[in-house]
Symmetry: D2
Subunit: 364 residues, 4 copies
């Protein structure tokens, strides 16, 4: 027979085998699903590695090839894994923060009219830390004039060294509250430990979880029991999966008001403090229904590229950006190199406002 | 005396000391400069570590504090280093690719009217590799319709495995040339070894240096002796300093027609093939006068976020973007996951065109 | 004059200038030190960026070269910085965890005779999590037979997903305590939140701070007020400086019983879960007087290279290693891929014991 | 029926389905293998993405669940992939550098009696670059006294900047050859471009491929046609897979005398120049039959931890280490910070010799 015809004929033999395998896979899945239900009755988990190991051993004992035992083990592990996934889907229908359909968007609304996640591009700004009433007042006046509705009011600063300035504490929160009230802004402030939540709750409108605490499960669960929104920063060494699951810690504890913040990751690059992972924005938009903010200050760690990063954030699909602004960055008690002064902040806003985007929704 | 007054007085004592140190530093620099000239006469290099070591030893022997010997060593090393830099500046007036004033921009002009680096945003596109005349013709027609003037015409593919498809070779270049001529486009093609330059020169309008060859000094110097433009990709493990110096290898050999390409770096992130380092664009713009292109295909390694990355590139200050386009990516012989099909390419172009930017120059 | 002689002469002119600069630098430092004392009286900090900015401006105004203003700014910033460092040293004589002389070694002693940091090489082992009395008993018997004196007794597991097994809690700690008593071992257990300390204190001999909590300042300070030793794991994205300062948070709060653990960092490498940073061991030994343990389980995330990593740890200068051991890793509730079974553990011990090292102290 | 019994019964239904799937998979593989043979006759490649896409579409059209179409697509893609692998194995029986059985070890033998890969631990040493006859002679004498049989004789240095010292070229090779002859050593030297091979071949005993050239396919293939051994350094951004395939480029071109060198990777850590990836040694030993050398100089980039890294290399399973040694590192023309002086080299050798290892083979 001519090779071309032989090829045709052999391919025809493959097709029914594919269908038979398909049928058996689904038959297997149906029984496995029932096994899952019985196990739930019995109060055991579906995943049973000993049983799996035993099945794999048996299959390898009877396997005569041409697939090697390793290949057979790999293929059946995939089948077991798919069955397990099926079971997990049944039980939980995927995780809560995961986007179920393309139009699912969480909106975070505040009393002063600010909404995050609603197709607008919002600015969160303010100094690295509250240092004095005058400092906060000067910044808030400037921010307010440009329409910024959320101010950073950091009373507690997580610092590398125990000897560095750790923030004014409750005193700082009081100042932030006063100033925010004066300009009709909302205050967001970092919470470093769950024990601080009740006190902070008196002053702040939203809780901020820093990169160092992204996987502090006790803090996340405690915030999950609050009513106020939580802004969760990505850890500088965290994968997107870990970031999403950290948000799930909050949401599965009862609080669905969560804002994600991309803030740069640790890489070998030394020209910037971190490397802004801008691709994370569209990927997180695909995976979750939560609003996403881009931190253009900590990602770069230098103010001279704030404008291009601000423009980039504007069109990335993010719901806003966060930028540190200080009346006199050179004398700031922390993060001096990356805070913008008031002029620079206004230039940044001009630059962002110079971009117009005709496409409908800034999603992926 | 009251502490406030004492502080005032002590500070007054510091000021003249500063001035004396300043004077001595410059006096020292003047003599060092003359030493440099004498050494040039003698044919030796200025840098003389033995002499430096000896000076440091002497200073440490007579140092009585309060600065420790380590501090004195560090401060004088800085002074030596500054003197050395002074000398290097004299000799070369900084490196050639470095921007000397904010308005210095290299323009790369091609015969078909394409100019890169001139405040426009240009698209370089085409399939990962030339596979056939039909494939190239179909892509070129689609690109041409959207105003793209430079097509990828890759005849040689650098591949991880020696058993993977390595390109059609010269045959591929011929096809690319024919198709480019038909649509009045220019062809850019990767050169893997300096021995290929003469042959390739007959077919291509610009040479492409891949990430794996960014520090291939022999190739860079050979391209420095060509007349045609060179597009230089950043290595996936390269710092910006290394990238800039790689360009300097080309320019110092005589060719000032260089285009830089940011294409993502290796990080721990696994959701994308590489991590697009968008901050590199404004930083490279600050440092060099060369045009910069953003590769949105290899950075992500997945086509589903091509649109947001395209928008991001558009406003980053870059002079254009590079995207892989294939009539049928699923059957491409390489990079199947990241190439756009023709529909997706048109959507990307629509998305980019939907952005308008009022600010004057897209530089930092 | 012959160039050689001219060179000689010019160099002779440099030497006295060096000495004059040296003298002025120290004179400046003496006055600056006094300024620091006055500021302490005044209750202000020494660092005064406005004053620095003003001095730099003045120097640049009078600078006539050949050093550029940028160079002058850089050199004087170094001088200011050195002065600031001098001040910090005076105030605190460097940080507490920092090694002051080569023979300074912290020893951590336990009631059962175990000492860590005393030129021996100790093994910390046990399952990832306490799952049952039988599991712990079986492991402890095997460990005890090989002379292991500290067992992991993890009741709380930090997990990526909120739906993963989170540990048996206090129940697990009870089991660990019982089993440890039976075999005369000490128990170490991870503390995830400062609120757990009082309860855990009843069961454990040492507290374990996980990688995710390395920079949880509230937890670190709370442990600083405990009497029991604290084992501090390096975060997978943490620099050595951050790691050392995290230990300083504990020590500056009152507890000097600290053990450091290197456990691998996040890199682009995908063949291992993390990349063991073995160079960190000698570097930490140089910088601190604390004992250092190498985690050979989480660094690799795969058991098949446990033996070579164990041998490597043995000669790296570390004070011991940590390895996860489980009676049946395939059915473990967490970290299944990296735990050793009892046979593998015995082989690891044989392998480590096969190395003899004649050099005196396993320090740098 | 009691749930326990029901569970038992359902599981009994699963077992025969597993066996049926197994049988069909192997039947499918047998036909696919024949298809491969026909395609070879036809001169086409086995991989046919269009055919695969069509089969997947058909399966999804008839799939009725409970597995979703996505799951079915994934499982069949795995099956296709396994079939493809089967085919590749048939054709090539896995890649050449891959270890086929645990006792397969490549030995590299030199005329002076040096053998690398034969259960001994060998030292490759010498200065970063050849600078003069005196320098080489002084180093060679010291190395020779400690039994070192291979000396670095670098005439060409790959440098970041085109203005840095690039080596003495052929002159340097002549010096290296002379000195090596005097002390009965073999010379290894870096080859930067394939055009240099014929000239270098007159002076050197082995070719060295630097990290920057690890994926220079033209150079690798040219070295594959040589008879002399090739030492291949891992790129600082290269995965192990890429490293192994780079070696395969050489071996598949005809030269099986290959030595691998682990030399540290780029990470966020700044305390060392690179991060020594010591886990790569046992992993490469598992995957390949090639000898592996640990570069303790470039990995750390600082000489103060050379001794612990040397000890670590000694027990890691590696076949030797590479260390840079210079009579006076402070005045070296390159890599000044990391080269050992002769005293330090002797201390390193003492330290390594102080370790004795009783375990049989230093493999995994």
């Amino acid at each position: 027979m001519a090779p071309q015809n032989r090829l045709q004929e052999l391919r025809k033999q493959i097709d029914p085998i594919n269908l038979q395998i398909l049928e058996l896979l689904n038959k297997r899945a149906t029984i496995a699903r029932e096994i899952g239900e019985v196990q739930q009755e019995l109060g055991t988990t579906y995943y049973d590695p000993e049983r799996e190991a035993q099945m794999l051993t048996e299959l390898q004992q009877v396997n005569e090839g041409p697939f090697s035992n390793d290949t057979i083990k790999k293929l059946f592990s995939e089948i077991f894994h798919a069955t397990l996934n099926l079971h997990e889907q049944d039980a939980r229908q995927k995780i809560l923060v995961q986007r179920k359909d393309p139009n699912q968007h969480t909106h975070i609304e505040f009393d002063n009219g600010l909404t995050i996640g609603n197709d607008t591009f919002e600015i969160i700004a303010g100094p690295c830390a509250v240092e004095s009433y005058e400092q906060m007042d000067e910044v808030a006046a400037a921010l307010s004039e440009r329409g910024v509705k959320m101010i950073r009011g950091m009373g507690y600063k997580p610092r590398t060294s125990p000897y560095d300035f750790q923030g004014l504490g409750e005193e700082g929160l009081k100042i932030a509250r006063q100033v925010a009230n004066k300009y009709d802004m909302v205050v967001i402030s970092e919470v470093l430990d769950q024990s601080l939540i009740p006190m902070m709750d008196e002053y702040v409108d939203a809780f901020w979880v820093g990169a160092r605490n992204m996987q502090n499960a006790f803090l996340l669960r405690a915030l999950g029991k609050q009513r106020k929104p939580v802004l969760l920063k990505r850890g500088f060494g965290a994968t997107l999966k870990e970031f999403i699951y950290a948000a799930e810690y909050i949401m599965s504890s009862g609080n669905d008001q969560i804002i994600l913040m991309e803030r740069g990751i640790r890489t070998f690059v030394q020209e910037t403090r971190n490397t802004l992972d801008i691709s994370a924005v569209p990927l997180l938009k695909q995976e979750t229904h939560l609003p996403i903010i881009v931190d253009i200050s900590h990602s770069a760690g230098r103010r001279d590229i704030a404008n291009p990063l601000g423009r980039v954030a504007r069109v990335s699909g993010a719901d806003g950006l966060m930028v540190e602004v200080h009346p006199n960055p050179d004398v700031a008690m922390s993060d001096a190199k990356q805070q913008l002064n008031l002029n620079q902040f206004n230039e940044l806003m001009d630059d962002i406002d110079s971009i117009s985007v005709r496409y409908k929704a800034p999603t992926v």
